[in-house]
Amino acid sequence: MNTLVKVEHLSKEYRLGVIGNGSLWKDLQSLSAKIRGKQDPWAPIDGESRFSRRDRFWALKNVNFEVKQGERLGIIGRNGAGKSTLLRILSQITAPTEGTVKIRGHVASLLEVGTGFHPEFTGRENIYLNGAILGMSKSDIDRNFDEIVAFSEIDPEFIDTPVKRYSSGMYVRLAFAVAAHLDSEILIADEVLAVGDIRFQEKCIGKMKDVSENEGRTVLFVSHNVGAVRQLCQTGILLEHGQINEYGDVGMVLQAYETSLRG
């Protein structure tokens, strides 16, 4: 099987606290002091440099894994374990500090449902806009339009109404429906199913499983819902403090996760 995603020695460091002095004026004062060879007027009083080690924090540290075509990988871990940071790097939203990610094919990432929806636009207009943001071409959307509307279970009567008048459930269903019909080789989904009712969640998981099995598409799925991960994924990664703690069969990983929750 083809490897579609290869993550090597991936690390991401964040700086804690305020970046710079918090305002341009103070930064300019620091700069002018530096040029004149004087002491930085805004340096911390204990003499440590502003960028000292204790202000740094590794959200991810030396993460390595591979995802093969058609694989459904679940990424689990407690809050702050680095799951979202990992997905943000994989989705090219932020750059890593060290290491590389190699990707073959187009990535569609769903870090939030309805990103780029414009409230003043109608459901129809938003399907096109959201689809394009996710990387679909107009002809792709034309072809899938009726299917998207049917999947979202929105009454076709409402499709030409601005989405600001939609109920939050309708909004979410429409947004997921667009994403579910993407033609990308790799789908990254983060907690998107936390919204919407149980029945629609089931339907979404079914859809993801379906496209993976029938069209060979790869899914990277983050969720706190152990049941959903077990249902959808074959392999899993357990993240703890930015490092991979367990990697392999989903049953084993979930067991390790549950032990760590209790322990």
Partner: protein, 286 residues
Amino acid sequence: MSKETTDEESWDVLITAKRKWLGLNFRELHQYKDLVKLMIRREFVSVYKQTIFGPLWFVFQPLMSTFLYMFVFGNIAQMGTDDIPQALFYFSGTMLWTFFATTLQKCSDTFVNNAGLFGKIYFPRFIMPIAYVANAFFTLLIQFAVLIVFHIYYVARGVTFNVSWWLLVMPVYIVQLGLLGIGFGIMISAWTTKYHDLRNLVSFGLSLLMYATPVVYPISSIPAQWKMLFQINPVAPVIEMFRYSLFGKGSCDLKMWAYSLIVSVVVFLLGLMTFNHNEQTFVDVI
């Protein structure tokens, strides 16, 4: 092993810590061409959604400014207009200035206004400045049509204009003004992610800069000892050239144009560098 090496070369996306400086990925922009179109439409339409006058707003604003300038600068202050009818003089000045100022202002807010979108999904960030400048350009086209109507009206009333051959260069200096606006805008946008105070400075600075640009007065009315100041303003020659092209009055200086063109291209390239350098990590600092 040979399969392994071909595998290594066939990656579509490579994500590393390296930050790029120059370069626009035209192939990628082309892939997202439908998004570019939709973003332009989104920007354009959201100006007049749920308004009574709809697209007429694109014309109201410069018309109101023109009336105001005619009253304040033309009638009360009695400032000259190089013998160009006041309505044409102020309208042409204000539409070009608005094109530049809107482009700059919108582009300078690229990261701050789209933080939610950029923080959740990847698409070429440069699409947003493209959408902003395209939107400002379409607004300019609509206003240009109105200007032509005015022009015809004055010609019908017997005013003669010496339309100049500079009219042929118009596409060049309009594009140049757009580049200057984007360039400054995206340069500031990269800095505003860190220093939000720049946003206030931009709107304030632009309204001041308008008075340092021949929008409400012609360059010819400036005393000789101050002319130098106007020569460093790269927007000034464009507005003068625009009026000279259409009405044959005012000044048109090849040297000034060349200077303004060079400044615009340099500012655009510097802006692109700053923008590229920051687009990958701005979500961490905003």
